[in-house]
């Protein structure tokens, strides 16, 4: 068993353990700061990892992803402001509990559920990655394109409030990705003769712009509505109220198990992410709950379900990245860059060339979960108080400046800073006008691979487009994509009717 050997190696490496611990804390704090997501923190800390050992670098960023997903629940429960999009589902039941003086109990439920969800996802990843990799070697460009196609369809169907604006955001992401050298003929396109654009727009400055600078702009706008923390007093009564017993947690267990599986499944699909997993799990949990009337008014199950799904995404979302080279999420896309920087070739041959490293990375993930779980269980309220004590007129300027440094440092290129600033304004405007910045970024991430595999398929084919139909695996994924589209169109039609009826 590779994973046990890896665990042994990792635990006996103090430097590596320190990085994992640092990641657990950094991720938790970044996730808890309203506006900063785990992927934003990873994009900003990326340049730091160029100077680290490959395993430390990957483990550091991977664990930030995990604890950042968890950290969002801290601000959702304590400040009634979701730290990440995914924790908006936690907020529904978390904040009512906090108002009743049971913030610590809510945090404990969130912590335990996140940890269980994260372990479920990671264990499925560890046992599944070998199987997927073995199959992955037989998948060629047509099959990969069919997977990309299915991903795009699924993204398109969960795109947010306005379908047209969501789709427009996704199309914009695809168009921006096309800037630079054509992946097949290596001809320049959409570069307007600009020398800097021939290599295209890099992901890291783009993401820092959209997710960090854009958020800072939004926070400047919202400056006059101060964030308030609920009372976390520690008198005798409060302690008694916030004690969590197994009898109280037991009803959450079925929800945690179901949500962990939902989260893992959604995680393995490229393009979806934590927030969708959290909301699907919340909806599904409420539908099946014995006490649906309590959901929304401070049900512990209503915290357990989205939190476990949110964190279960983390592990399985690595599977398409590691085995197929398809970045399933924005975090995956950044990690892909880190693998490249350290000369590790991801894809189906990864388990042949870097088996030890990959299992060590998984082991770091398992340890990281235990670390953020322990810190969170005993210290989440303290982390909340720490964040609230930093004045926003210090915090956001610091984040603002850091985003410039991070954008420059990722490649030492001033043009990237310009890209970051433009993306920052773009991201802010997109949010303001209800476009979907997340759909923009994930389409940007997936578009390159989709185009490349599509055109490779056509070159490989002896009969043009028929190659997608004559290869069974490719056909299967295309059918899944189309079926998802049809299904979604139907439910949308029904929802539209219901909405219309309600209005009337």
């Amino acid at each position: 068993m590779d994973i046990f050997a890896a665990l042994g190696n990792v635990i006996t490496d103090p430097v590596l353990m320190l990085w994992v611990l640092a990641a657990a804390i950094v991720g938790m704090v970044a996730g808890a700061i309203p506006g900063l997501t785990a992927s934003a923190a990873i994009a900003m800390l990326l340049p730091l990892t160029f100077y680290m050992e490959p395993l430390s670098a990957l483990a550091f960023l991977y664990v930030i992803g995990k604890s950042g997903r968890y950290g969002g629940s801290i601000s959702a429960i304590l400040f009634n402001t979701p730290g990440t999009a995914a924790s908006a589902a936690t907020q529904i039941d978390g904040y009512p509990l906090a108002q009743r003086g049971m913030a610590s109990k809510a945090m404990k439920v969130a912590t335990i559920s996140s940890v269980i969800g994260d372990y479920t996802g990671d264990i499925l990843l560890i046992f599944g990655v070998g199987l997927i990799a073995a199959v992955a070697l037989r998948l060629g460009p047509p099959e990969l394109f069919a997977i990309y196609f299915a991903a795009f369809v699924v993204i398109g169907s969960v795109i947010g409030k306005s379908i047209t604006r969501g789709l427009a955001s996704a199309v914009l992401g695809v168009l921006v990705n096309m800037i630079g050298l054509d992946p097949i003929s290596a001809e320049a396109r959409f570069t307007f003769g600009s020398f800097d654009l021939t290599n295209g727009v890099s992901l890291v400055p783009l993401m820092i712009g959209i997710f960090v600078l854009g958020e800072v702009f939004s926070q400047i706008e919202a400056r006059h509505s101060p964030v308030e923390i609920v009372d976390t007093s520690r008198d005798h009564d409060a302690r008694a109220r916030n004690r969590l017993s197994w009898a109280e947690y037991r009803p959450c267990m079925p929800h945690v198990i179901r949500s962990s599986l939902i989260g893992s499944f959604i995680g393995v699909l490229p393009g979806l992410g934590s927030s969708i997993a959290a909301f699907v799990a919340y909806g599904e949990g409420k539908r099946r709950a014995r006490n649906p009337e309590e959901w929304g008014h401070g049900a512990l199950e209503g915290i357990a379900a989205p939190e476990s799904a949110n964190n279960a995404v983390s592990g399985p979302s690595m599977a398409p990245l590691l085995t197929l080279g398809i970045p399933g999420s924005t975090i995956g896309a950044i990690l892909m860059g880190v693998f490249l920087i350290h000369g590790i070739q991801i894809g189906p041959t990864l388990l042949i060339t870097s088996r030890e490293l990959i299992f060590s990375l998984f082991a770091c993930g398992l340890i990281g979960i235990a670390m953020y779980g322990t810190i969170g269980y005993f210290g989440a309220a303290w982390v909340g108080r720490f964040i609230i004590r930093i004045p926003t007129n210090v915090l956001y300027p610091v984040i603002f400046l850091t985003s410039f440094i991070a954008a420059f440092a990722s490649r030492g290129n001033l043009f990237d800073v310009l890209v970051m600033v433009l993306a920052g304004f773009g991201g802010w405007l997109m949010k303001k006008f209800d476009f979907n910045p997340a759909a923009f970024v994930i389409s940007f991430v997936l578009a390159g691979g989709a185009e490349e595999t599509f055109r490779q398929s056509l070159l490989l084919s002896h009969n043009g487009l028929l190659i997608f139909v004559t290869r069974p695996v490719a056909l299967a994924f295309l059918i899944i994509g189309v079926a998802a589209l049809v299904l979604r169109a139907r439910t949308l039609g029904r929802q539209a009717k219901e909405a219309a009826l309600n209005d009337a």
């Binding site: 037989r138 460009p141 050298l181 290596a186 920087i341 189906p348 490649r411 030492g412």
Partner: protein, 320 residues
């Protein structure tokens, strides 16, 4: 004393120079750190060579050698910066000479290896090879060529991207053998190799070092070189099998901006020769699946000129 004699003397005096490093530089005494611009990202193939070089430079240079990554535009961003740097011996560029040359031939760039730079030395050479999946019916190049001639336009082959030296070398082989086959570009060596292993294509042109560790998945049929690879010694060259494939490879070359003093160039050339002859540099190269391949300034430039003459007709034919 002319440059060649100087180099020979220096080579003979390696033992002596180990005792007094500064002896290697007759007049050139670098005082400030040397910036070695690598026009590719940190961690890539070319960057690993630069890191190996910088790590072994300590005993041969009195100042540190700092690797500066300036990626972008297929290596042209960094090359433009290096060409415009002050020629005072503090800035050099190390790049994949093959990629630089081919980018220049294909895209008619403002900077080029011959007019914008002075060649300092070559420190290694990357070679490409023709690989087939293990279960392929082709045991030799002759099998492949016979099948390709029987089914013109039917075969599919891949490489690491149009304009890469793997692509041009593969096209050179196709032209020489008179076969027609469709090329499918992939992104980088890893993806290209995985597609060959998975049988997506009939053959692929991939760096010989990529075959290490994949002996049970891949069969290397021929190497594009005039001699066998020092590590994969069992792989025959194209020439051995009767095919006169143009020698397109990717020499790792160090350049200096135009206008750099002759004594700086000679000093750096000598230092590079000393570095590349050290066992720790050889060990670092071995880890990258390669071996040091030192050529002095004149030979390194001649090598690039020969490659230009070999590649130009292939590139011209592609652009028709």
């Amino acid at each position: 004393m002319d440059r060649r004699t100087f180099v020979k003397l220096t080579a003979a005096g390696t033992a002596l120079t180990a005792l007094s490093p500064s002896m290697a530089f007759a007049q050139w005494e670098p005082r400030r750190p040397i910036n070695l611009i690598v026009p590719y990202g940190a961690g890539g193939g070319t960057d690993s060579f630069a890191r190996a070089l910088a790590a072994s430079a300590e005993s041969a240079l009195p100042v540190p050698m700092v690797v500066v990554n300036r990626p972008g535009s297929s290596g042209i961003t960094g090359a433009t910066e290096a060409a415009g740097a002050r020629p005072d011996g503090t800035t050099f560029m190390m790049t994949s000479g093959g990629s630089f040359l081919l980018t220049y031939l294909l895209r008619d760039t403002d900077v080029n290896p011959f007019d914008s730079f002075q060649t300092v030395a070559q420190i290694g050479d990357l070679t490409t090879s023709l690989m087939v999946p293990m279960n392929s019916p082709y045991q030799t190049i002759d099998d492949l060529v016979a099948d390709a001639l029987a089914r013109p336009g039917e075969l599919r082959w891949n490489h690491t991207g149009r304009g890469s030296f793997h692509h041009i070398a593969g096209q050179g082989f196709a032209n020489e053998a008179g076969i027609e086959a469709v090329d499918v570009p992939f992104d980088g060596g890893g993806a290209t190799r995985a597609a060959v292993i998975g049988g997506q294509v009939d053959f692929g042109m991939i760096g010989i070092q990529q075959a290490a560790g994949f002996e049970s998945e891949l069969r290397v049929l021929a190497l594009v070189s005039n001699m066998r690879d020092p590590i994969a010694v069992d792989v025959p060259t194209f020439a051995e099998q009767g095919y006169d494939v143009p020698l397109i490879s990717s020499p790792i070359t160090v350049f200096a901006p135009n206008g750099t003093d002759a004594e700086i160039i000679t000093g750096m050339e000598a230092a590079l020769q000393q570095i590349t002859s050290q066992p720790e540099f050889a060990a670092a190269m071995l880890e990258l699946g390669n071996t040091p391949g030192y050529l002095n300034a004149a030979d390194a430039r001649a090598r690039l000129e020969a490659m230009r003459d070999a590649a130009a007709p292939i590139v011209a034919a592609l652009e028709e």
